[in-house]
């Protein structure tokens, strides 16, 4: 679907952030859903997904609020985002898929309800109205996908926002 605007691909996302123009989002992306929040990250920003079979045993990591680990497995740490894109302070419930995101420590995994790879996307990304935005928000545009709003962003901006006040 080609709509009026500037045609761009994954590599150009940095250029469009913080602009107020509609652009065409193209390429391969990964849909990451946490509760009702749906993010769309370039596929190159998202590592392999793994199922959390012991999620009920996620324990809070002392000294790092919002970071959890699996009992008897301290090689990986887990974070789940709230609707405000900040780490949840309570162990994530039913976030049964964990992924690695680019630009974070190797041992850190991000928990989601749903992870879906979307190939060859071509969607119009519309700017969010000014009244919605907060400073340094990783989300500046939205796309409509299967009747729902999905928010494109990059791992770099997402993590800079989410981990701003978190000691990991």
């Amino acid at each position: 679907m080609e709509k009026q605007g500037v045609r761009m691909d994954n590599n150009d996302i940095e250029k469009i952030n913080n602009t107020a123009k509609t652009y065409t989002l193209t390429g391969n992306y990964v849909l990451l859903r946490a509760d009702e929040t749906r993010l769309l990250l370039p596929q190159t920003d998202v590592g392999q997904a793994e199922y959390l079979t012991h999620e009920s045993q996620l324990l809070p990591l002392e000294g790092s609020e919002g970071v959890f680990y699996l009992e008897n497995h301290t090689d990986h740490f887990f974070v789940a985002l709230s609707a405000h894109l900040k780490p949840q302070h309570t162990p994530p419930q039913n976030h049964f898929i964990a992924t690695y995101l680019a630009n974070t420590d190797e041992e850190l995994r991000w928990c989601w309800h749903e992870v879906k790879i979307l190939h060859d996307l071509q969607l119009a990304a519309h700017p969010l109205p000014e009244v919605v935005l907060v400073e340094n928000s990783p989300v500046t545009h939205y796309v409509e996908l299967e009747g729902s709003l999905v928010y494109p962003c990059t791992a770099e901006k997402l993590l800079a926002f989410a981990l701003k006040e978190v000691a990991v």
Partner: protein, 206 residues
């Protein structure tokens, strides 16, 4: 969830010669019957009365703002919103309306300067408003949450008053103010409300 819509007016009765502002410069002059609830104390039927009609919006029990009638387009009952991640604290979500997605401003949260937990509960009404970011730009749309149905009110110059300084956001979005039931009622310019962020306009404490 289904959405019930109450199609409303905007009458062309706004007096552009009035000192009260018009944020969309009269481009919205919908004809038709005014279906807004009319407040019993208003004098809309009186002739030879100088003033202007305003839409009175109750955003919290007995707390009001007003807008120009031609900006108020449609009341939606029992709306459903799509959440926006990392949005400003006063944003209730995005509303799907006439093949568009509109930002919904929770006026109570905006005035109180903090996220409104009650916003998580079902909201009874939202009002779709028209705005222009600047003169000459295309008409755009947004919505605000309401505690009750809007009312029509005739406002006369004698009711003019100062904007309350305790709520800084009024300095950003209001262009005038009048008294109603002994309370100051800011008149909101919808362009100023929707075309800028208000995250730094927090109320004064104490």
């Amino acid at each position: 969830m289904t959405t019930n819509k109450t199609t409303i007016q905007s009458s062309a009765s706004f007096n552009t010669q009035s000192p009260l502002p018009s944020s969309v410069n009269g481009e919205f002059a919908f004809m038709g019957e005014d279906l807004f609830e009319q407040h019993p104390s208003s004098s809309l039927t009186q002739k030879n009365t100088k003033g202007a009609v305003a839409r009175l919006l109750e955003y919290e029990w007995r707390r009001y703002v007003a807008v120009a009638p031609h900006t108020a387009l449609e009341v939606i009952e029992n709306p459903s919103f799509s959440p926006i991640p990392a949005a400003a604290y006063y944003i209730a979500g995005m509303l799907h309306w006439q093949q568009r997605w509109l930002p919904v401003v929770n006026l109570r949260a905006l005035v109180n300067g903090k996220a409104d937990d009650d916003a998580l509960l079902p909201l009874k009404y939202v009002l779709v408003l028209a705005y222009q970011a600047q003169a000459g730009e295309p008409i755009n749309y947004g919505a605000v949450t309401l505690h009750g149905l809007p009312k029509s009110l005739l406002v006369v110059d004698e009711q003019a008053c100062e904007l309350p300084e305790s709520i800084p956001v009024w300095q950003q979005v209001a262009v005038s103010c009048f008294t109603y039931e002994r309370e100051a009622v800011p008149i909101i310019d919808t362009g100023l409300l929707f075309a800028q962020s208000h995250v730094n306009a927090l109320p004064k404490v104490g």
